[in-house]
Symmetry: C2
Subunit: 321 residues, 2 copies
């Protein structure tokens, strides 16, 4: 859980090298995050003054909609515009996934000689705070390394993945015709978080219907006021590169609109707040694991014997923290 | 989130009625849990002295192995023995499930006139603590209502479901031939938690192989000492009732062995401890949501401006709790 991928390395030098865009340093810093290294705290502290530049783009969508293909196409489009782009492929620590992310990584290797691109998949098994602490920490490394855009790709659509995608500066919701996606979007609470909707595989039947469904749901969303950003719907065929330039345009348009309206700053503050709270919760959990076992054991015994209820026991445990 | 399913009801009377086995009272108490009622704490406190009797049996297994059919067959088997049995079907709050549990509930309705059986499905959306606090609270209601056995059926096999199943007094791991289950068991960390392995659909091809695989993995498990309970492997065809009496025997044998060795008590203490810690964490989370917004906002702004790192901010937040 706390193996150190850069033992003895000078963290100051590592951060300086990351700032200079050196891939090896970036990789080692993200490994510190992934392994929840004891020196993570020092590393974060050294990076803190050098962040605040990168625009974080979250991608979410059901398996099979073409997330990896879209990521690959977006990398190419942004690189043509001279934009430095990072990709964080996040594996929500389920014992059943794991293979997919590595596969995607390999598929995207054709950018491996370009220092303006860095692609990294990350698990979060060892993390007490899970992805809610690991993802923002990894993003901070990308930010320190001065990437202009960081794409966060999550595997599958679960609650935690939605949370990560929704704390991005711009959230892309990917759909494809013929997958019952309209209903899926409505169910999963994805509609509320989408800043740009992407209908991929738009050469298939059912595009019109899907677009109408999404448009209807956006119009009905009570949380979107008339002054708010109206999420565009972009049609793509990512495998052929179609619509990708327009998608990149819409990402940049959303970025500009967010900066202008102040929403960019509000979202960042919300994101940092969520990160701080997740770290605080992880610390509480750590104290439970390492804390006074006698106190916890005594409380459990009192609950077992019906001498107290679990709520009162929890209060006592917190007071003892 | 906090709608009260029993407004104005006298909680003392409700608990007394639940102790007398009245279904309506049991249902209302579990609804208090499900809705995270403001009166839940008082209800738990009233129930605390009346618990400690029920034997909790957790069921886990991949979709399609026949969990619901097995539950239905076990209900019938235990009822024939005069055992009062409760079933808690737990829905891990994913937006994608929900249908299955209700379906199971309907399928098991043929016991609805028998007061020795109570079947209840429960979601945990409103819960800050999620299933880790809601499930033990619901079990406490069953326990108060003097059920001898409570089956906890979880939907799907994810980490949280494994956790719930593993805190049971007896954990059943259900498998079926021809589903690649051997590998699945090894992957999901289910092997370590199984007290009784059930090969359902044992009239199908591949039973021998599956049994050999499970036996091999049990033998290799370093956590099982020679004095420990050796998990038996029971073959069933739940749809035809075959092997179910033997399964019920093994559950009772495990119960007796656990009581004798003291493991029963150790497990309960671990379960109560986990519940207390989960409640304490939920309380911390609640304080973040309702606490001083100015402090959290200021910390987030300091992180944004690179004036501090998130770890230091988290320390300050905890100190402010």
């Amino acid at each position: 859980m706390t193996t150190d991928p850069a033992p003895g390395a000078d963290l100051q030098q590592l951060v300086a090298n990351a700032r200079a865009g050196r891939v090896r340093a970036i990789a080692r810093l993200i490994s510190l995050v992934e392994n929840n290294s004891p020196r993570l705290r020092e590393a974060m502290s050294l990076m803190a003054p050098h962040t605040g530049h990168a625009h974080v783009v979250g991608l979410t969508g059901s398996p099979g909609v073409g997330k990896s293909t879209t990521v690959a196409a977006l990398i190419a489009a942004f690189r043509r515009r001279g934009v430095r782009i990072g990709v964080l492929a996040v594996d929500p620590s389920s014992p059943f996934t794991g293979g997919a992310v590595l596969g995607d990584r390999v598929r995207m290797q054709n950018h491996s000689l370009d220092t303006g691109v860095y692609i990294r998949s990350m698990a979060s098994r060892g993390h007490l705070g899970g992805l809610s602490t690991a993802a923002p920490q990894a993003l901070r490394v990308f930010d320190t390394a001065r990437f202009d855009v960081v794409l966060v790709e999550t595997v599958g659509v679960g609650q935690s993945e939605v949370e990560i995608a929704s704390t991005a500066d711009t959230t892309l919701v990917l759909l494809a015709p013929g997958m019952g996606d309209g209903i899926q979007v409505a169910k999963a609470g994805i509609l509320e978080i989408g800043d740009v909707f992407v209908i991929n595989k738009a050469d298939r039947d059912g595009v019109q219907n899907l677009q109408r469904e999404i448009r209807g749901m956006i119009a009905l969303d009570p949380q979107r006021g008339p002054q708010e950003w109206k999420p565009p719907i972009v049609r793509t065929v990512a495998s052929a590169g179609e619509g990708i330039a327009e998608l990149a345009d819409q990402i940049e348009a959303h970025r500009a609109a967010q900066r202008l309206s102040g929403a960019w700053d509000r979202r960042r503050l919300a994101r940092f707040r969520a990160e701080i709270e997740a770290l605080a919760l992880a610390e509480v959990r750590r104290r439970f694991l390492t804390g006074d076992r006698a106190v916890a054991a005594d409380l459990a015994a009192r609950v077992r014997d019906g001498r107290t209820d679990p709520f009162s026991a929890a209060d006592l445990l917190l007071r003892n923290l």
